[in-house]
Symmetry: C2
Subunit: 184 residues, 2 copies
């Protein structure tokens, strides 16, 4: 490809420095970058390799405007949106009462790859869970077994987000059993 | 730190080359690496930054043996296991009927960071969803609001796993609306 794409961010560094970006410039995202982001998302592991997901990329400005109206969780004006969908038919193939829930984890695995790839490519991204699901499903022409579960706002970052903080490792990590201090 | 840790893997490369590893050598995992892996997991985004997760690291060989008995999904002999838990109390703070389900996505976001960090640190990892949840919760002394949702087998890879394949991008990615070919 002729694009001079900067992809030299070390993995742990990308993981540590990724932030949710909610302010975007008007600069459009090159198609090649969108493709790489989607390749990253679909490279995630999934239960039984079922890949119970689907992705719709929206870049048309009128459609973006309509989606913003359906999704109060979108802040700022992203230049692209990815609608991440759960394929209920595939999810149920995982089997057992927990099958469909485990498929939600698969969606998370793919989403984190997508977020890290965007960050690596110097784009900003923000997951959005707050939107009108039924209206969005209609608007996106989703078949009944395809459920929209998450939106990802994408664009070039306008500002550098601050770090919202994390719970201390000692509060969420334990050794051998719950409650035993993790002291590595 | 005195450890000579190789962490120079580019992010997209790590995403593309990560595989589920199911055969491990006996070489133990340095504590510093486990800490980095957990730091990566807890660096993930989460809805409302609620971080509805908990992690228990098991390295004791007798406890690993017991966990293998509770988890038919574990293949090979990992030198460490991470029990990834969902904090139902926090999950419910997300609000709405979908709150707890969105928390499963958060678990996926943290898990993918964990898997990529392990890969970057030249470790192998495999998510395992098949285990006796009630027995494992008892064995790990989990409080009632903490649910074990996923196990991650960890260790140095003994063999190089083959690529299980992925659905073609054209099958899972669409442009503007479902069914419209994605041709970037």
């Amino acid at each position: 490809m002729s694009l001079d794409i900067d992809t030299d961010m070390e993995t742990l560094q990308a993981i540590q420095t990724r932030r949710s970006v909610r302010a975007f410039s008007e600069e459009p995202i090159p198609e090649e970058l969108l493709r790489r982001i989607l390749e990253a998302a679909t490279s995630a592991a999934s239960g039984g390799n079922l890949q119970p997901w689907g992705f719709v990329i929206v870049r048309n400005s009128r459609r973006l405007q309509a989606l913003r109206a359906l999704a109060p969780g979108i802040i700022g004006q992203p230049t692209a949106l990815v609608v991440i969908c759960l394929d209920i038919q595939r999810a149920e193939q995982l089997g057992g009462a927990l099958g469909p829930r485990l498929a939600w984890i698969d969606i998370g695995l793919a989403t984190q790859n997508l977020l890290l790839a965007a960050h690596d490519l110097e784009l900003g991204a923000c997951p959005v869970g707050s939107f009108h699901r039924r209206a969005l499903a209609l608007f996106m022409d989703l078949p009944s077994h395809i459920r929209p579960v998450l939106l990802i706002a994408l664009g070039y970052p306008e500002t550098k987000p601050s770090f919202p903080g994390r719970r201390p490792l000692m509060e969420v990590c334990f050794a051998e059993q719950w409650g035993e201090p993790y002291e590595y």
